[in-house]
Symmetry: C2
Subunit: 414 residues, 2 copies
């Protein structure tokens, strides 16, 4: 197939041309390390921004110099960083706070919703990310509530929930890459009297998220994927401003307390988003979040999403041309409007193929059971030629049967 | 008063001699930053070890280079770091894990104890650290349990608890510096059928803690004080090995799941201490904990404690000589066997005196309401001359009335 200009759109020359015209191309140089490897797992752990490396060194030195005198400057890091994140997910300043892990934040918000509006069933899709399911399973066990797991993708017309229920949905499915219809699902939950908590871990930073416009009430997300804040960096949570007075964290800690340092009082939570803090905030980790989010905001979600669509479309086009004949199938949406920033390619030997790509081809995808090679594009640093080269190498190694040298039993993967 | 060698034990010459003979003196050079200031607030936020500064830079670079391929090495950081901490608190390998904040960890252990052995009352002293009280207050509200606050120091002969109750006590009181009798209180709780959770935040790293020998069951603690892991660094929790099978965290997350990456299963927690993990561990923060704990272990708790006693004794001796006539009083134990590594000096103008010391005298103590100047000694880096100079400057500024130039209303302090 050739375009009007005579360039085959599936040729490496076309990928090179796309990179040359890419307004986001300069961002690739804003990352440090791992220059050689084609990294298609930024949807699991993002790369290291140069600004983050430098900021972490400066933040460490600042601790050493200011010691406890640094706290007046550090104490607002959760809200300051939260406000930056808010700008990426369609939230207003004061609606997001950076703290704890995604798991902890989900626990806090689900308990808060149940306490304010429950009791009711806890609802999610059976295919949702494990930690989301486990959190709900634990709360259901503790409170003797029904855990209602539904099959298939979330469907606004048939969302199985009612008054007092708390529903947890991922905006982008961690395996298939399916992008949920946030507005329709939010409206469906509201119409049924249920409270919906969004997990934005696999969308924020690459895909537009319009929490405010959708009337979303609660959300959580991680920062170590597209927000490039490093392994196990602090997560965030969102509580719509109108809900903040009525919702309380189940975990009462001194950073959620009004007039924190008047220590002789009963617990009386901050009136705002800070009531969802608990322990002392991790200042180094928050500095990394701040830098990663700032870089993302500078590039702009619209530009990032446009590039994400171009790259995932290229994966699918090359798949159809090169990989389908080798037994692969796209295990997710073909419509880019229904897709996040990764593509899952199913193949019976997905585990071995993933190992062979990592160990022989200099390409890092990841494996997601039972049978998918997951290819993520991080539009801040993934190039068109990276996608082209990765799929070219993938094709070549499967054609040569190189993956058959690897053990078929999946070991520990992340 | 003069010693047999003719040197006044309260003279600066005596302090210099003590430093010259100090086997821990070389450790002072293992810290970076803040050379000029006399820092007597390491009991709030410890200093920056050189090894930590270097390790954080290396850990950051490792993230950049290894990316998701770093996880096989990183995933054991919570247990590896926990095992190092175990060596400082009289626990066995496998009984401690580094994760989350002290507040979160306390929440997890109190809920776990209630689920396994409750319901019962939640018991603590009214003067316990605020976040400990708030956590209990929150759980009591959630579960409709009695919150029983008692006055005065914990007394083994009169510990107000019974079967099914959960008691939370600090090993060292954050204000008075009083050191609880861990063995006697643990035995008292056991005899009454209550479960005791220790907060080691103000003792670990400076004071011997013998959890195993005392038959202690549960404990939490922070790492940013005497363990020097930086502002908001990950905390830790201890669960005696024999209790691990029966106790479960209320927060079920994917890092507590057995066979974590077999994602298609119901929650089935790890059989060991890892069941108290929840979300993705903070790898940078844990690296700082590892370095701080390693440095502490290298110096050895016995040597650190001996020096801590020498320095707090010096504070009290100089107080008696210089400060008592100026209206100060020791607001804590005079018996070093009953004392942690800080001394609280009460004075009606404590707030202004603290500000004057920080802003005029180059000395950092801290203020603890309502009326105490808290002086902490961190035996890894505090010198005898630091104590001598700090109290000399304190005496001089109060004699001159310099503190009276400062506003009497306490503002935000940390």
């Amino acid at each position: 197939m050739a375009r009007g200009d005579g360039v085959d759109p599936l040729s490496r020359a076309a990928a090179e041309a796309a990179d040359a015209a890419d307004p986001l191309a300069p961002y690739r140089e804003r990352f440090a390390g791992a220059e050689e490897r084609i990294y298609l797992d930024g949807n699991s752990l993002g790369r290291l921004p140069v600004a983050t490396r430098d900021r972490l060194a400066a933040q460490t030195a600042e601790w050493g110099e200011l010691l406890v005198g640094g706290w007046p400057a550090w104490i607002d890091a959760p809200t300051r960083t939260g406000d930056l994140i808010a700008g990426l997910i369609g939230a207003a300043p004061g609606e997001v706070i950076a703290c704890d892990s995604t798991t902890m934040n989900l626990y806090k918000l689900v308990c808060a919703a149940l306490d304010a509006r429950g009791p009711g069933a806890l609802v999610t899709d059976r295919a949702n990310f494990p930690t989301d399911r486990y959190v709900l399973e634990g709360i259901a066990a503790q409170r003797a509530l029904e855990l209602r797991l539904f099959d298939g993708e979330p469907d606004a017309a048939a969302l199985p929930c009612g008054r007092g229920d708390v529903v947890v949905l991922s905006h982008v499915d961690y395996r298939s890459g399916a992008l949920a219809d946030l507005g329709a699902l939010q409206a469906a939950a509201r119409a049924r009297g249920a409270t919906l908590v969004w997990d934005l871990s696999h969308s924020a930073g690459a895909i537009p998220v319009e929490l405010g416009a959708a009337g979303a009430e609660l959300a959580v997300g991680c920062t170590y994927k597209y927000l490039n804040a490093g392994p196990g960096a602090p997560a965030y949570l969102y509580v719509a401003a109108r809900l903040q007075p009525e919702l309380r964290s189940p975990i009462w800690g001194w950073f959620g307390q009004r007039e924190q340092f008047a220590m002789e009082r009963d617990y009386d939570p901050e009136p705002d988003i800070r009531r969802f803090l608990a322990g002392t905030p991790p200042i180094l980790g928050l500095a990394a979040v701040e830098e990663g989010v700032r870089l993302t905001a500078e590039a702009g979600i619209a530009a990032l999403h446009a590039k994400s669509v171009r790259l995932t479309e290229l994966i699918i086009a090359l798949h159809d041309e090169w990989l389908a004949p080798l037994g692969f199938a796209v295990a997710g949406p073909r419509d880019p409007a229904r897709r996040g920033s990764h593509v899952a390619l199913a193949h019976p030997a997905a585990w071995q193929i993933t190992r062979a790509m990592i160990e022989r081809a200099g390409v890092t995808p990841d494996f997601r059971g039972p049978d998918a090679v997951r290819l993520g594009v991080a539009p801040l640093y993934t190039r068109d030629v990276d996608v082209w080269d990765a799929l070219d190498r993938l094709r070549a190694l499967v054609e040569r049967g190189e993956h058959e040298e690897f053990d078929a039993a999946p070991g520990r993967v992340t």
